[in-house]
Structures are given as structure tokens and as C-alpha cells.
């Protein structure tokens, strides 16, 4: 790997009595799509929030393009795009007005807004109020806003949770197009194994604030070949089977 875009070294984070992240290391290169896969409460969101700079680790070190958040926040904010699991944009702004608002934070003009609107396939909703969008359309808008600044790093926190299969595939399609056309690095948290399989070239399985396994999809599926679970299954092996063999639980539990 070339110099990593994101380096996470032995970070820990606790909230009162809960140890959310317990000694995680992560190195993500340019253009790499990484999935943080784990059940709810695994520590994925906390890890992303620390990478995003809104939470401070109790210990450990996070560097983005070699820089820590301290003293470099203004610079780093220009490099990152973010989409949360749930963001309610201002309901009575139109799609276009919402994009123009967020574009203004990056000093980006109308042309880029138009490009992104085209990428997220919301041109026909340009004048629609946000309140009138479907869940999938809102999530596409959130993704579009995250892409406005051509981010070097895209952080997506469960971007398809709660969406129907069609809406989920539309999001995937946008992200696959991005993968082809740009050198953006993606960190995606999800508890949908298909999402990780479809989109990401590196998968990190997290539970109870620790990394259980990491590697490419084929590496991880390869590890399961020797496990007893393989013989018991008459169907294709999935990441969920690996997770069961590691924890005794399903990813969606």
C-alpha cells in the first residue's frame, strides 16, 4: 500500500461504563473502499466519529493524510465527505437549495451541484421540497451532499439502513460509479454483509469495539473453508457464516 490516507493506531474510547472502541488499528489507502461490518453496538459509528474528528479518542492516534485533527481541522474538513444514517435536512428547502447551501460551505459553485444532482439522479426532484422526498431519495441527497467537495475520504455511516432493496441498490450504483471514476477512499459502516460484499475491497469485521477479522472478501471467505460450519451448509458461504463462527451470533442480531 502507498502512504495510507487514514491511519488509526491503537485507539480506545469509552462512554461512562461502556468501552465502545478497544484498541483498533486501521490503515486505508487512496481509492480503497473499506467496510466496517458488525452488528449494532459493535463500535462502528464511534470509530467513524473519531476518524471524522467529532469525537476524541481516549488514547491512540488518528492521522488523515499524515495530519492529526488538532490544529488541522479546517484543512481536513475540506477533504472529507460524510453521510449519516439519519440526517433531516431543512424540510422546506428544495433539493437544489439544500445542495447550494452545503456547496457554499466548500465555496463550490452551481456547476458542481449540477454534476452531483445528475450523479444521484435527482434532477427531476430539483425543485421538490426535502419533506416531500422518499426515504431513498433523501438518502441519495445526503450522499450527493457528501460528494459535493470531491472528497478524498468519504465516510458513510449505515447509508442504506431502513431503505427498501431498490433504494439500497440505487445507492450502491452511485458508489460503484464513484469507485470507477475517482480515487476517493471510502469507509462504510454497515451490518448488511451484501453491502460490504458488493461495494468494498477490504472488509473489517468489528464486534464489542475490537476487530475480529479483516481482509479482502476472498481472504475472509477463504478462512471459513476449514471451519466445521462449511460442511454443514449446503449453500454458498457468506460473511454472516464467518461472523457466526467467530461470535456465535448473526450480523443482524
Amino acid at each position: 500500500m502507498n502512504d495510507p490516507i487514514i491511519e488509526v493506531r491503537n485507539i480506545h474510547k469509552s462512554f461512562k461504563t461502556v468501552q465502545a472502541v478497544r484498541g483498533i488499528d486501521l490503515h486505508i489507502g487512496a481509492g480503497q473502499f473499506v467496510a466496517l461490518l458488525g452488528p449494532n453496538g459493535a463500535g462502528k459509528t464511534t470509530l467513524v466519529e473519531m476518524i471524522e474528528g467529532i469525537q476524541q479518542p481516549d488514547s491512540g492516534d488518528i492521522r488523515i493524510l499524515g495530519k492529526t485533527w488538532k490544529g488541522n481541522e479546517k484543512y481536513l474538513r475540506y477533504l472529507i465527505g460524510l453521510s449519516l444514517q439519519e440526517t433531516y435536512f431543512i424540510e422546506k428547502l428544495t433539493v437544489w437549495e439544500t445542495m447550494r447551501l452545503f456547496a457554499s460551505f466548500f465555496a463550490i459553485g452551481k456547476a458542481r451541484c449540477g454534476e452531483v444532482l445528475n450523479l444521484i439522479a435527482l434532477e427531476d426532484k430539483r425543485r421538490a421540497w426535502v419533506v416531500n422526498l422518499s426515504g431513498g431519495q433523501r438518502q441519495r441527497l445526503a450522499l450527493g451532499i457528501a460528494l459535493l467537495n470531491n472528497p478524498k475520504i468519504l465516510l458513510l455511516d449505515e447509508p442504506t439502513t431502513g431503505l427498501d432493496p431498490n433504494a439500497r441498490r440505487e445507492i450502491w450504483s452511485i458508489l460503484l460509479k464513484l469507485k470507477e471514476q475517482s480515487n476517493t477512499s471510502l469507509i462504510l459502516t454497515t451490518h448488511y454483509m451484501e453491502e460490504a460484499e458488493q461495494l468494498c475491497d477490504y472488509i473489517v469485521i468489528i464486534d464489542h469495539g475490537k476487530i475480529l477479522k479483516e481482509g479482502t472478501l476472498s481472504d475472509l471467505l477463504g478462512e471459513i473453508q476449514d471451519l466445521p460450519v462449511k460442511q454443514a451448509l449446503p449453500r454458498k458461504i457468506t460473511l454472516d457464516d464467518l461472523f457466526i463462527s467467530l461470535t456465535g451470533r448473526h450480523l443482524n442480531d
Binding site: 467529532i54 460524510l82 449519516l84 439519519e86 440526517t87 435536512f89 460551505f105 467537495n149
Partner: protein, 381 residues
Amino acid sequence: MIERLSNSQLLQLILTNVKELTREPGVLFWGIIFPILMSLGLGVAFTKKKDVITNIAVTGQEKLMTESPDSTSAIMSFLMANNAVAEKDKKGVVTRKLTVPDDKLGNTSFIFHSLSWKDAMVMLKRGNINIILDEKNGVIQYHFDPMNPDAQLTYLKLSKLLNRTLPVDTVPTAEIIPLTVSGTRYIDFLIPGLIAMGVMMSCMWGVSYAIIERRSKKLLRRMVATPMKRSNFLIAMITVRLLMNFVEAGLLFLFAWLVFNITIQGSVSALIVLFISGNFAFAGIAIFISSHTAKTEVGNGLINAVSMPMMVLSGVFFSYHNFPEWSIPTIQKLPLSMMADGIRSIMIEGAGFAEVAVQGIFLSAIGIVFFIAGMRLFRWH
């Protein structure tokens, strides 16, 4: 039977709602404890009031209010016949206090102030008094706004007392002289209060609630993940609110001018400066209130906790001189009282910069202090 009951859908739903409510300390505090504290505070403050105090201006009687009057005027005869006690007010001026005992309705105390006509008008415009008593050629004149119910009540009580206490053959002729000139009517008192209250409510809901709602919906968190300057976010919100308040106040004034012939007697530029100071004060308070919570229910409670006492106490709808004497210095320092009093003195008393400088500086200082404190506590996510 018990198991069946405990499995009941309705019971479980009720229990869920009870738990949801009781496990949210903010909602519990603002929903239950705060109203109790309010009723306790206001109850203690205002139910132990011994007398209903009504201030009355008496004009043309400057020499008669000395501690040893020597007069044959009907008003003074009435006061002496009722043993009205001579008392000095805070400024050392002698007043006459007449208390009418009533076990059932509570005592009523009339305090008679000897004033020049000009001073009496100022007191009337400020809402300190609602009736001016004058005596000309043996005729007692009651000057008040006939549309003001408080003034009507004072007139009825006072005229009844006067007729009852003086010997039948000495009861003077009385006449009502309606005060309907601009600046002395209830509407003149009300409009400045409504303008000030509009600014307060607009800032509380338009700034405070909007911030809390955006925080609760993670919009603030999303915005600060960009290079957006945080100060710009707040400046934009306060600026829009200020412009909106100008429009709202302007329309209210326009309406009052067209329908009630209300005018600005004093300095318009002083009014604008005071208006901006008031906006700044309430915007600062709004930022402070909304600095931490992400729960709209708690925000609701906080906004009501701040705005409701001021709405009641600050003399928007009626003069705060109806409250006990001891509470008035505190009430006068409330931001809403400061703003309403300042606007009132400019609009109906003809005040300029010098007269409202204290209010303007005080309101600006409140804005700065609360804004800084709010920013120190402010949570963006």
C-alpha cells in the same frame, strides 16, 4: 388472572408511556416540578398581599399634601374625613394613603400623589396610575381612559367612597373627563409592550427552538462536518430573526398607526437602537437556552420557563406596578421590562437617546453575557 392482566396490551402500553415519561428527567422537571415551583413562587409572592394598592394622581393640590394641610377642598376634606395617613414616598414626597378594609375582598389602599398635570400624564402613560383627580370650581374631575377597565374600577370604587364619606350636603359635583388623546390610552400602553414581547417570543422560538430541533435531527452535526464557520451559522440565524422582527414590529406599528392613530413621540433613531439592543439581548438568551439540549421537549420547557414569567411580570398587558412594591425593582430589571419600558418612553413620552441609554446598554450587556456563556456551553452534536 394477574398474569393475564400483566400481559394486557393496554397495560403494557400504559406502562411504556409511564416509563418513557419518568425516565426523562428533563420532561419530568419541566412538566411537573417546574409548574409546582412556579405556583409556589408566585403563590407565596402574590397571595400574601394584604392590600390592593391603587395609585391616584391629584393635580392642582400641591400645597394640600403637606403633613399639616389647611384646606377646604373637597378632595382634601374627603381625605381628612377618612383619616388618610400622610406618608413619604421613596423620593420624600408626601402622599396620602387611605385604606378601605374589606375582610372578604381584601383591603384596598388608595395612595394619592400630588402632581403637576405634566407629571401626572407621564405617570399615566407609564401605567403607574390609571386615573387623575382634579378639582375645579368645586367640581371633582375624574380624568381616565374610559376604555381601560382598571381605570373604570378605580373610578367606581373611589366615587362610591367619596359620596359615602362626605356629608350629603357637601358632596361635590363630579364629572368624568375621558382621556382619549394619543399616549394616554390603554392601546398606547399596550402596543410598545406587544412589540417587545414579539421580539422575545420570536427569538425564543425562532432561534432557540430552531437550534434545538436542528441538533435533535443531527443537522448541526452534519453541518459542522463541513468547513462551515460556526459563527456564520449563528450570525445568519440572528440576522434573519432581527430582520423578521423589524418587519413584524413595523407591521404592528403600521396597523396601530392606521387604526388607533398611534405615533412615535420621541426619537425614531433611539427607538431603532433600542430595538436592536433588545433583539440582541433576547438572541443571546436564546443561544444560551439552546446551547446544550438535543431534546425538543426540554427545549419547550426551557423556553416557557424563561418567557412566561416575563410575559406575566414585565408589564406587557398591564402595569407591573400592580405587583407588590418589593418586587418592582427586580421586575424592572427583566429584559422584557427594560425593552417595553424603553419603547414606551420613546413612543408615548417623547424620550430620546439620553432617556433610554440605560436600557439600551443593559440589554446589550445581557446579550453579550448570555451569548458568550451560551457559546462556551454550545454543543454542535
